[in-house]
Point group: C2
Chain length 200, copies 2
């Protein structure tokens, strides 16, 4: 039996179903919301409802968008000869925040993971190959996470794309900017050494 | 300028207005919600709307409740001669979770804090005195937080209640159960020493 009334209990349960929010944090959030004016709680609730109602996948690159195709795919100022392949829509936003990249994207929505039963058919690999076959793309940047699954998927994609005669690159793996060498793990350090470049 | 579309940005802003949720966590929550089925996001949104719509203050003890007076104030099995005074409704639930207390409650909704401009009139002190004047109460337990403001309010209330001839007690301050003595601060340790009791 719970000591909370039904509405409080339901709100705690709903909030604690979110990642990184445990039951204690959910309780604290609920008591915070109960002290807020009704309008601000309703603003939050409606923002969540509209989020789900308005945001869908771009039919070209499969990132999150409110217009289809997305603003990057339809932009006249982007370089259409480069496609950066990422795992998740959040990776698109992470790269956009750098302000360095002016090409297009393609979101796979995951990585190959046979143990979890995720095969090539469940990822947006076939739509990527279609885009590449349509021509006009000169370089594909594989920007998957530096994990075992990311590696496997990178090599799988490279093998599929190679016959199309397109340049295939991958983002550098090395020591993060601002990190002390002594705290870098061995795998990162050996990658950083192997990927060393001339001092210019 | 933001790189997110309006609906995503609004959801991030609304979520990051909550305590302990920064912009980064809000972004992560939004991307999580976008991957969830629409129904589960709407269930969360409606739980928040109903929370605000259904929950109000008990007109007797001022805790959060969906029926007025609350289930504790109307319960036949509670001891009506003891009132435990707390700062916030969340304190009521914290004490209820112990399962040890069978009396009634009274929520002040804050503590005296002249620096923040919080005076006795803004707290539910007058309603408490009315309840006590109505008779039938033999003991008032002051269970305010062990802070400067909590101390000041405890003494202020004790002075107001004393003329009514009611027993006034306060909860013990000491070393928390499970805590190592070496990590207890000096104030807590001196309180624990001063409040020592016979070993039974």
């Amino acid at each position: 039996m719970t000591i909370y009334s039904p509405s409080i209990e339901r709100a705690i349960e709903a909030l604690s179903s979110l990642p990184t929010i445990g039951r204690k944090s959910a309780q604290r959030l609920v008591f915070h919301l109960l002290r807020q004016p009704r309008e601000s709680v309703e603003r939050l609730a409606h923002a969540l409802i509209e989020l789900k109602a308005n945001v869908r996948y771009c039919s070209v690159c499969y990132t999150f968008t409110e217009q289809d195709p997305c603003s990057i795919c339809t932009s006249q100022s982007r370089q259409r000869s480069i496609i950066c392949v990422v795992e998740q829509p959040s990776d698109v936003f992470a790269i956009e925040r750098t302000g360095e990249y002016r090409g297009l994207y393609h979101v796979l929505h995951g990585t190959l993971d046979p143990l979890q039963g995720i095969t090539a058919e469940q990822l947006k690999i076939e739509p990527l190959l279609e885009r590449l076959r349509d021509g006009g793309v000169e370089e594909v940047i594989l920007a998957l996470n530096p994990t075992v699954e990311g590696e496997v998927t990178t090599h799988y994609l490279a093998k599929l794309i190679a016959p199309l005669g397109i340049t295939i690159t991958r983002i550098a793996r090395g020591v993060p900017v601002g990190m002390d060498l002594e705290f870098a793990d061995e795998a990162t350090l050996s990658r950083a050494l192997a990927g060393r470049s001339d001092v210019r």
